[in-house]
Amino acid sequence: MLINNEFNEEKIQSPQQYIWSIFKSKNIAVVSMWAVVALILIAIFCQYIMPYPPALQHPDMLLLPPYWVDGSNPAHLLGTDDLGRDTFSRLLKGIQLTLTGALLITVAISLLGLIIGSTAALLKGVKASIVHHLLDALLTIPTLLTALILIVLFGMSFENSLLAVSLSLLPQFIRGIYNCIETELNKQYVVALRLDGSTNLRLLRYGILPNIIEPIVTLLNRIFTMAVLEITTLGFLGFGANLEEIELGALIAKNLDLIYISPYLVLFPGLAIFMIIIIFNIFAEGIRHAVIEGED
């Protein structure tokens, strides 16, 4: 079917519309988008979805299995732990804490990283080389080690573990942004913009940023994934959570002793982490593909 009909003026789409139309045409991307929305809604309305308060103990119902296994109680969908606390509620609470933490970190890092990274890329001379070497040095420290150090310095709490994770991931993101902008700066259109007399800010906003959407999406996806993994790792190692604040990693750690009695207690939080990362990755991949195809 030819598309050169007489109404073809309507077919001219703005880049955003074009990317969106590509994104819409991919089922898996759209499904993942709704899953992301659902996850965020769960995180926001966690209080209202939870059947029981996560710390409420049911002394008469200890170590119940999930509802599809014999000996379960339909009142507790995913069973209970050794103190009779509802696994489903605790899981939701854990998802809420982990997801909000990771999203907060991603937003904070993307704002800070964009500012620092683009300033560093546009700087020249001594200042640039100081930033460069500092980043080089920071990048050689493994993120887990950075997080451990910061937790030792600030003390153990969930907020501090979030701070530690974001500070340990920040150099990676800055370096990524820095490299993207650096390669764009060497292109001809930037020279043309410069010759037009555009300021650095204008150059960034209208020249460079629209051209580095794809690497930024990739970087953000990576930062989010690493943030989830590190928050849960720190929680698992016992550096993150207080007693009430049971994010998914801490949940695994707390139930680790029960793994042979009731393996579900360890399986479910792990699967929850897995699902969060998978959903966000597919979503980001969908956006990335749409952007790449839109640029072609």
């Binding site: 079917m1 030819l2 045409s25 195809e293 839109g294």
Partner: protein
């Protein structure tokens, strides 16, 4: 005798906005031993035709043709493996921006060696050592043939260490290594300075004269190739508008587009008025996703009438093929 006979070649590209017909029933008839010029503005689909002939198209292309014969081989019926074999032996292609078509991490010698006739069969270990010196000799001859004097030095270099002109000569040397029957030159001289351009064209002409290599010369510049070619086809927005021998097209152009193109060639003996405007067609080339229906020149054509919204059929006047509803036939 026709070496390459392509009839009603159409290419559709699948995009997010739907299917776009970029090449609309192009017909190409290349006579053995001639230089055939394919002229069209950039974006008109010359390279697409070349790629479709070679079969190196992307996955989102749909290529259909009524007939595609190379000599007496039906290219459409070959499996991709057989076709590759035919391509390697019978057709060679040289590109614009030749440097990007050379492997950046291999020395010129190794790359040229690959295309030598023996190089393509499996090289045995012993054979390899023995044949190296003979290969060296062959490569040297090839490079001399295309006008590279310091062959020793060129052969030892990586592509990024050579100039575009030298790279193009290397490409031509690689292309003629197998004595192909058809050489497709895809705008071989863009982004080169005038002297190198002249050298490359002279080289192609010599190849045609001495080795009887048929050349399909793609260009966006009517002036630069018109005196080189024996036959000329013009293409506009994926439609072949006129094709015929050099004399037919140049002396008695029938299609309005051809007439416009010929008018754009500057002749100094013409007495142009001082500060008068040079001749161009009104308007500009439409983008590929907003092509007009029927004859695609329609909106820009000085002779367009109502019937032009239907696609004209090709008419053959003694080998002079045109696709136009209102051709100029007064010279007949």
């Amino acid at each position: 005798m026709a070496l390459l006979d392509v009839r009603n070649l159409s290419i559709d590209i699948l995009t997010a906005q739907g299917k776009i017909r970029v090449i609309d029933k192009a017909t190409l008839n290349i006579v053995d031993g001639s230089i055939h010029g394919l002229v069209g503005e950039s974006g008109s689909g010359k390279s697409l035709i070349a790629k479709a002939i070679l079969g190196v198209h992307n996955e989102n292309w749909i290529v259909t043709a009524d007939r595609m014969f190379l000599g007496n081989i039906d290219l459409l019926k070959l499996s991709s493996k057989e076709r590759r074999k035919v391509m390697g032996k019978e057709i060679a292609i040289i590109f614009q921006n030749p440097r990007s078509y050379l492997d950046p991490s291999k020395k010129i010698f190794d790359q040229m060696r690959e295309v030598l006739p023996e190089g393509k069969s499996k090289i045995h270990f012993l054979n390899k050592i023995v044949s190296k010196s003979t290969h060296k000799q062959i490569i040297k001859e090839l490079l001399h043939k295309v006008g590279v004097q310091n062959d020793q030095e060129v052969v030892r270099n990586y592509p990024h260490e050579l100039s575009e002109g030298i790279c193009q000569k290397v490409m031509i040397a690689m292309a003629i290594a197998n004595n192909p029957r058809l050489l497709i030159a895809d705008e071989p001289t863009t982004s080169m300075e005038a002297v190198t351009q002249a050298q490359i064209f002279r080289l192609l002409y010599k190849l045609n004269q001495l080795h009887n290599t048929t050349i399909l010369l793609l260009s966006n510049n009517f002036g630069s190739i018109s005196n080189l070619s024996d036959y000329i086809s013009l293409i506009y927005c994926g439609q072949t508008v006129e094709s015929g021998s050099y004399k037919q097209v140049l002396n008695s152009p029938m299609h309005p587009y051809t007439q416009a193109m010929i008018k754009t060639i500057l002749n100094y003996d013409e007495n142009l008025d001082h500060k008068s405007q040079l001749y161009t067609l009104p308007g500009s080339i439409p983008p590929a996703n907003q092509l007009p229906i029927g004859c695609r020149l329609g909106p820009r054509c000085p002779k367009a009438q109502r019937t032009c919204v239907t696609n004209p059929t090709a008419v053959n006047y003694k080998g002079h093929v045109i696709r136009c509803h209102f051709p100029t036939l007064d010279e007949k």
